[in-house]
Amino acid sequence: MEDNLDCPVVLTGNEHSKFLSKRYGYKEWMISRFLNFIPHPEKMLDYVHDSKNLHYYIRVNTLRTNPQELKRRLDEKGYLLRETILKEVFEIKNPGFGGIQIKDTGITIGRQNNDVNNDNKDAVTTPKDYDLQSSKDDDLGSKQPSIGSTIEYLKGYYYIQDLSSCIAVEELEIHAGSDLVVLDMAAAPGGKTTHIAQKLDNKGAIFACELNSNRLASLLFNLSRCFVQNTIVLNIKAEEINELELQFDRVLLDAPCTCEGIIMKDHSRKKSRNLVDLETCSNRQKKMIISGFDVLKPNGLLIYCTCSFAPEENEMIIQHLLNNHKDAKIEPLNYGMDGLTSFSKYQFDKKMVHTKRFYPHIHSTNGFFIAKIRKKPN
């Protein structure tokens, strides 16, 4: 395939997309696109529309405590924790957010979630196999102080973070306490950096890049709160990382994106982005992935992820890498729905099925995309 990946792909709307955009309050161009590549798009719109369907997760910071101990303490305080497919991640049923802003995750949570009713969710959760939670029975608890203001939170015993984000780090293949050098190309507010640090057991080294100096405070706060000692934080454009002449065993590119996948937590994004933003993000992501891959050691792993549904920010970025680097190989991932192998007029590499997509109405997570790329050994 030639690398003439035009971006963004404009798809014409129709009466139906017009109707849906009005009904759910989105820009129409988004809906007409969703109808093309999201499974059960109307179910998703319906699901995302209802804040009762919001799911919250916490990741236990194993640098500071362990899952059993934290669960015991939060149980005691009346929080309802459910296990997930990752042993250090719990779903929290009654996080007690009363319209406060959770900036920890870089997202805004605007509604209380004390009375989640999952009947509705079950109705749209198809197919079941894709559901990532181990349990869905909900006996929802009484009013709690926010899960973002407990002593345990302030002590850095956990991080409020979506399950899909945790899966991205899980897929980096960092074995406990290994001595790897990891590059986190877009780090603030530090959800994934702190996760990598705990995987490394504070060993090895993490070079954490963040361009936006306004977001450094949240990154530094979280690194300190989580007692992370192995980071070197750089206020640089990650695209320019090769100027530092470093090589990495692992690269994480949690790319700045249009954030379509977190509309449920930030409704302003239904309207705040336009096609130019999509193009800008896509162009930057292409540059970033090439730079990240350039500094990867042979046999090293790169995880690319976004919280966007847009193929221009996901499969097309991976295709761009494959077109430019013959030594880049897509590897399979363990969770999520298969990535797209085609979009509009484009056919992608057949291995693109190994990339994974996450949808709120199917996986009870943010909308998310993950790709795992290995650099072939020399």
Binding site: L154, A205, I232, N235, C259
Partner: protein
């Protein structure tokens, strides 16, 4: 903002502190770096104390955008800081050697622990990092001021609890993590040799660090009821409350707990 190895003097100061807090044996196991923070102290405000200086690099307000910005971080620190405390200017010394230069210049060294052994300081010079590892405190006027992360090391490694501490009850804990001072009646137990005006580690009933404070009294006077006996100087919650929740306008102390 260059990170560098400890000078002999700094090493002595830190060793003394580690020793005083009963964790001398871990000193040699830690890789410690410092960075010079220069404060142009044309001020007379006594309240602008070390803990405020400590907070400067971290007081850049966070926001939610995933967008990009190319503005310089240090400039931002300066702008934000000047916005808050008009009488001050502050910046990291760029290549300034550790010497006193002019009576209006006060220098604070930030002290960091980091676990990475792969990279040499020369690389750090080239990278110009915002931060390396974990800040454990500051050195000013030849004295080490421990931060909350240093207290974590103390609690973890000084198992005999042979250091100044107070253990407070749960009710007080919830107030103290957001900056309130400690009443004698909230103290469940304490280090028996506590002295007046001494730095103490504030622990909750699980013996977890929730703050640092200064004692107003010595010995058992520390548990006098109905009066404040410990001033909270740093706590684990104020940053969150101030920067994230923005509910804490009334709490106007110890913004420098972000160590």
């Amino acid at each position: 903002m260059t990170f560098r190895n400890l000078t002999n003097l700094e090493e002595t100061i830190l060793k003394r502190s580690f020793n005083n807090w009963g964790i001398f044996e871990i000193f040699g196991t830690l890789r410690i770096l410092t960075r010079t923070l220069v404060l142009n102290a044309t001020i007379s405000d006594q309240n602008t104390n070390v803990s405020k200086h400590d907070a400067i690099p971290n007081k850049i307000l966070s926001h939610n955008s995933c967008g990009n910005s190319s503005s310089n971080a240090i400039e931002k620190y300066n702008n934000n800081y000047q916005g808050r405390f008009h009488t001050l200017t502050i910046g990291y010394s760029k290549g300034i050697e550790p010497s006193e230069s002019g009576k209006n210049i006060k220098r604070t060294e930030e002290v960091f622990v980091h676990s990475n052994v792969k990279y040499e300081n020369i690389l750090f010079k080239k990278l110009n990092p915002v931060i390396i590892g974990l800040k454990i405190g500051t050195i000013k006027n030849k004295k080490f001021s421990p931060g909350l992360n240093f207290a974590e090391f103390v609690v973890k490694h000084n198992r005999n609890m042979d250091y100044p501490y107070v253990i407070i009850n749960t009710k007080a804990e919830n107030l103290i993590v957001f900056g309130r001072d400690i009443m004698g009646s909230s103290i469940l137990s304490f280090f028996k040799d506590i002295k007046e005006n001494q730095q103490v580690i504030i622990l909750n009933h699980n013996k977890e660090v929730i703050g640092l404070g200064k004692s107003r009294y010595s010995g058992s006077l520390i548990i006098q009821p109905n009066i404040i006996t410990i001033d909270t100087t740093q706590d684990i919650g104020t940053y969150y409350l101030k920067s994230e929740n923005r509910l804490s306008k009334s709490i106007d102390k110890n913004i420098g707990h972000l160590l």
